[in-house]
Amino acid sequence: MACAQYQRIRRSVNEFRPALGVLMLTSAVACAAPPPLAPLGSLVVGLEAAPTTLDPRYGTDEKASLIGDLLYRGLTRLDRHGNPVPDLAISWDAEPTRYVFRLRSGHVFHDGSAVSAADVRATYESVLDPATGSPKRESIAAIERIETPDDHTVIFTLREPFASFLDATGLGILPGRQLRPGRREVTVGCGPFRLASFERDTAIVLLPTVQPAGDAPRLPGVVFKIVPDDTVRALELSRGMLHLVQNAIDPDMLGWLARNGDVLVESVPGTTFHYIGLNLRDPRLGILAVRQAIAHAIDRPAIIRHLLKNHGEPATGLLSPQHWAYAPGGPRYGYDPARARALLDAAGFPDPDGPGPQPRFRLLYKGSSVQARRRLAEVLQEQLARVGIALDLRSYEWGTLYADIRRGSFQVYALAWVGVSDPDIYYSLFHSAMTPPRGNNRGGFADAGVDALLEATRRTPDRDRRAELYREIQGALASQLPIIPLWWAPNVAVHTTRLRGFEPQPQGSLLSLRRAWLDPGTDPAAADALARRAPTKG
């Protein structure tokens, strides 16, 4: 009896076993990554991580805007100086509360429909709709109504003057027909490339589209390949498996790449601003002399030369020299440890044991756990120790770091502002009323004079007048040092020598890929592909 049972179980297990085998096999096959459907001769760009979304209404991270530049067109776009220039709009009239845009004709969405004023209106209204949940809503909240008297004209009426309105008109336009209420992703634009596939762990594939009047891209395709590992990115670049990587190669690897690959390293001054944030409510950091001492204690040239391998420029303030509102001037703080010590002595913080290990006082430093940041933190700790300030380092990942900084639970931190284009950010950073949670004035900086200047910038749409105001603001901030500027990071693009027509932009924008092409070199198949895509205009 037991024997029969045993036999039955044996048989069922035996039947089960091949099924299990098949299951494992199919899962193994399914596991093998499917190859991206990119045409031969496509440009392969390396990214360290995929963007969270490509819908222009939701995408706020850098990668979303990089790829978005190629997929979408907005009414305007920014040039290398941060000025709005025409994109979908041929021209516009700007009055304090009324903006009239005239659209170019002939643009077509990737789904075939023509671009009209109605689509512009639908896109903006979608962003304004709270149900969409777009983080860009606030930047255009000043819009009272949008009118479209004809297919090529859009009129925005604002509730009150908002000088930065033009900066927000870079929003990628989506086809009105595809926009529904609620949170749904739409990735159809009218840019020179369209989205062919989006596999978060593998690659994002873009294919060129037909453009009006000789604007067609010369690349048969662009693949954004996700390569999270630093070493692999460098290796693949050297082997020609990646053609372009921007701002994602460790500075130390650049020398190795130059020696081991057929690549070119192009560096243009950028807008990313690295700085040290200070909590002015702390009794010691509230003293200007202490802040000045810290600024003098940091050996910026050495950091830039060795840590960044010269890919950086000592910064004087938030705005970099390419920006239209940039103004030099104000005191500079060179590396001068002797002066730093003198300032601290005079401020009432003598060094208890001279050059010995005892510090004048201790400060708590909070930074991100990203490796490059931790290295910087250790260097800062060492340099401040030389003038007698002990820095206690704590690394956190972003979530906790922001929470702490927002709560004011910090003394010193170091971060960077990426892609500064709208100078209105000064308001949120330094106006005395804009402390968290209202704004980003985390250090609690309060100066009546600066407040007045900041308020004035918001009231004037006149570009020159604003530039003058910002000049005064930058001078005041350089004197009062609520934050300590470190450096401006350049945009470093490493690409194969076969890539032509690519121009790195300060903001890191990949717009020049609209006109770039890959020289086939010795690859006959690629030469074929290029020949088939020869430019249409003479």
């Binding site: 809503r137 590992d229 972003w398 979530g399 906790t400 922001y402 971060l415």
Partner: protein
């Protein structure tokens, strides 16, 4: 009867699984940090962050969110990733195969190294071969994966170029990560195999077989091995915890798109739904594997199979 066995094993586990879900939920909310901050970064204006928080429903009180979560769980809905706006189950499902592939390959490597090693050692206990193989086993079990992985990369991927540095792809991509993960388990398994083969060899029935004139190797492989396999299965299922922990490190080193890395990244990003989904998925995986191990054990060992059946 198999069904009864299954039920007996599975049922006590389910309440445990459901006990974990609320613990994880509340625990995560104790962790400081806001997913919106992580998503939008520093440059975002606070008004944008508020808008996003509203749209994600993060402004509602914790209790209410927990209730919604439980309700959606019963419907089989694991929620949506805060950062990626994709359904959690789809994220987890897309990463699961990668982790399974890695774990399975590691187990295969471990077993195929450990069994022969253990048997050879047990065949001649006390000999130089025995000592050497057990020393190697101990070494394998001692080296942590975060040390072994990078060294393997330096030696095999960079210097020799025999394998790719990282990423998931074909068999070549699997080699180094599976090795990193499997070596530790191989070390432990070798020692267990040796011990259980030795024990099996000492059994009476072996002496009977030998007395009957069966060759030494046949005795070793057919009889001793089958009995020795049982503890091996147990050890594998017990070591599962270490294996899954190992995948976290290994997936990080080799940029393997698996569940371990997803969980760590989600914790860093405060992506609560994803973390909960991952933990539930891992817990479910445990249940399945342990049940399967129990089943295999029961099938192999008649004594266990028949426990609970009445005398006829």
């Amino acid at each position: 009867m198999i069904l009864r066995l299954l039920l007996r094993r599975c049922v006590p586990v389910l309440p445990r699984l459901f006990a974990v879900a609320p613990l994880v939920f509340f625990f995560l909310h104790l962790v400081p940090g806001d997913p919106v901050d992580v998503m939008l970064g520093e440059s975002a204006l606070p008004a944008d962050k508020e808008a996003l928080r509203l749209s994600l429903g993060l402004d509602r009180p914790v209790g209410e969110r927990y209730f919604h979560y439980l309700a959606s769980l019963t419907r089989g809905d694991l929620g949506e990733s805060i950062g990626l706006r994709a359904p959690v189950w789809r994220l987890v499902a897309s990463r699961y195969p990668a982790t399974l592939e890695l774990a399975a390959a590691a187990i295969v490597i471990a077993v195929s190294v450990a069994l022969p090693l253990g048997i050879i050692a047990a065949a001649r206990p006390g000999s130089l071969l025995d000592r050497a193989s057990m020393a190697a086993a101990l070494f394998g079990a001692s080296v942590p994966s975060f040390a072994l992985g990078p060294v393997l990369i330096v030696v095999f991927a960079i210097s020799l170029g025999w394998a790719p540095v990282s990423g998931r792809g074909g068999a070549a991509h699997l080699a180094l990560p599976a090795l990193t993960l499997g070596v530790g388990m191989a070390g432990i398994l070798s020692r267990i195999t040796r011990a259980s083969v030795l024990e099996a060899l000492a059994g009476d029935y072996i002496r009977t077989a030998r007395a009957k004139g069966l060759g030494r190797w046949r005795v070793l492989t057919v009889h001793a091995l089958r009995n020795a396999l049982l503890p091996v299965i147990t050890v594998i299922s017990l070591q599962l915890g270490a294996l899954l922990a190992g995948t976290i490190i290994t997936e990080t080193i080799f940029a393997w798109p698996g569940l371990g890395r997803l969980t760590v990244d989600a914790i860093a990003a405060r992506d609560y739904p994803v973390v909960q989904g991952c933990i539930l998925a891992i817990g479910a995986g445990y249940v399945v594997v342990n049940t399967a191990a129990d089943l295999l054990y029961a099938l192999a060992d008649p004594r266990i199979r028949h426990e609970g059946t009445r005398e006829r």
